[in-house]
Amino acid sequence: MAEVARRAGQSDNREARLRVGRSMSAVAKYAFLGFWAALCVLPLVLVLSTAVKDPNLATGNPFQLFSSFRPQNLVDAWTLGNFEKYFLNTIVIMVPTVLGVVLLSMMTGYALARFNFRGRSTVFYLFILGLMVPFFAIMIPLYYNLRDYGLLNTPWAVILPSIAGAGGTGLPLGVFLMRAYFLDMPGELADAARVDGCSEWDVFRRVLAPLAIPAASALAILTFLSAWNTFLLPLLYLQGAENRTLATGLLLFTGGRTRELELTAAGTLIMIAPVIVFFLLFQRQFVRGLTAGAVKG
């Protein structure tokens, strides 16, 4: 993290010296950067503006940003749309998924990096293969498996496949990242702890696992976002109104409301506000987690 910041500062200092587009005037450069930034941000500003608009104005000119202020829309959407229930359902899925992915990935990544056992590389490649298997390649039988296990339409129907890697993150990514992280740690640390009488479990629990917290938190953040946003898993395996998550619930809520734009926008805002706040708080860790696999791989 400090490294990234240092480099950022460094390149700012060197700006004049190494600028690629020296011929490009500064105006053109910032126009280019700004154009795409606006394209990314403006739709969200529009959501925010419409979410607090007077219902009579909401379908009017969308560019009259913040022409009225009616926060009551958010309360209306919250109660009309059952968002309390969706929020709860999403959290009930998100928390065990994040905990499960992080703890299991740490343990298995640690074992693959530092234990010596038969079948170690087989297990590693088995998990890596999961990074390449698209969800659709397990979607259909998984439905019937979950039904047979009696897990269909329970939170476990999303939690367990998400941990296994059906949502794109999960164990395959987690084991990969954590193994790489533990491989980079000096072996002398563990040896010193062993000399001091630590059991293998304590070496992990008290010495090396705490050192892996940066990687674990990056993984936790990635997992949180994917669990919050996951759509197809609850669409398929959590049917029934009482089981809906924010993703599937929001779609239902907005589906029948093509004209009540202010409510659609308010519902959307309710779902994305936590994600955006979370992202702004943990941007660095998030980016690091995302790119770690690419750089290391």
Partner: protein, 318 residues
């Protein structure tokens, strides 16, 4: 292979012996109980909810199962033969291929210049990166809802914009018109994707030695030549990685289409994943849907492995 962290107790002899045996780390085997505790739970969940259903898809694709019958009748490769003559399947595959080409090229053409400009020195760099990344963190459902609203024929932002600048004759029901629907959905997907590429390319660019750029400039290389001969080779591994994830992702696209068009109008935006979904859960052709899913898996695996090979070769020669 990582070497150089042999246990202190075994010394250099033990280290060399272990390396000769192909085991650079601990020569002593870890107790089974410990391995079971550390690997067992993960492996169990992974086998039950990933490996087993994957094998299930392979098996189901060889049956005519309808999702209800007690017996699953084995019909060999029949589903795949039917697939070859299924126009809807080819229609969906063509859409995925278009998605792969445009949905990969466009984010690269947007994301790479942005990353290079940011890297080579811009104020508010982290703020820009955060803004480009905002659409990426949004749930696909939300991206769909927002773009459904932008494209709305009656009060959509796009049509209002066109009218506002005097291009009122170009207004359209973007998602309802079979000629524009796929492009409209693709546009929404590109909006939600190019920020990832900015982040990845920026991370790749951090690895380029700044002195190389200076040296190239001293040698008289202009901005384009520096980009072409120093920057692009420098991020080649990252480029391969980005190409892999976007291409592979193109064959699994589902959410945004489901939210925006459900594959319609007609089959104008139908893709393989949506077709597999509809076949398996809409019409209860679990066997046939599995065959479609197998095609997605095969395309993804072949692409991913091909790019891994390219990457390995690049690392050996480079």
């Amino acid at each position: 292979m990582t070497v150089g962290t042999a246990p202190v107790s075994t010394g250099i002899r033990g280290f060399l012996a272990a390396r000769r045996a192909g085991r650079p780390r601990q020569a002593r085997r870890t107790s089974r109980a410990l391995v079971a505790v550390f690997v067992g739970p993960s492996l169990l969940i992974y086998l039950m909810f990933m490996v087993y259903p994957f094998l299930g898809t392979v098996m189901l694709s060889l049956t005519s199962w309808d999702g209800f019958a007690r017996t699953k009748d084995f019909i060999g490769l029949d589903n795949y033969v039917v697939l070859l003559g299924d126009e809807a399947f080819w229609n969906a595959l063509v859409h995925n291929l278009l998605w792969a080409v445009v949905g990969t090229a466009a984010p690269i053409l947007i994301g790479l210049p942005l990353a290079i400009v940011l890297w080579s020195g811009a104020r508010f760099r982290l703020a820009f990166r955060a803004m480009y990344f905002l659409p990426v963190i949004l749930p696909s459902v939300v991206a769909g809802i927002i773009w459904g609203w932008i494209y709305n024929p009656l009060f959509g932002v796009l049509n209002s914009l066109l009218e506002g600048v005097g291009l009122g004759s170009f207004t359209n029901g973007w998602l309802g018109d079979p000629d524009t629907a796929l492009w409209a959905v693709l546009g929404a997907a590109i909006w939600g994707a190019f920020g990832t590429l900015v982040v990845f390319f920026l991370a790749g660019l951090q690895g380029i030695d700044l002195n190389l750029i200076d040296a190239a400039r001293v040698d008289g290389a202009n901005a384009w030549q520096r980009t072409r001969h120093v920057i692009l080779p420098g991020i080649a591994p990252m480029f391969t990685f980005v190409l892999t994830i976007t291409l592979v992702g193109a064959f699994s696209v589902f959410d945004i289409i489901y939210v925006l068009t459900l594959g319609g109008p007609g089959t104008a935006t139908e893709v393989l994943a949506g077709y597999a979904y509809k076949m398996a859960f809409g019409r209860n052709f679990a066997g046939y849907g599995s065959a479609v899913a197998m095609i997605i898996a095969a395309l993804s695996l072949v692409l991913a492995i091909a790019f891994l090979k390219i990457r390995e070769r690049g690392q050996v020669s480079g």
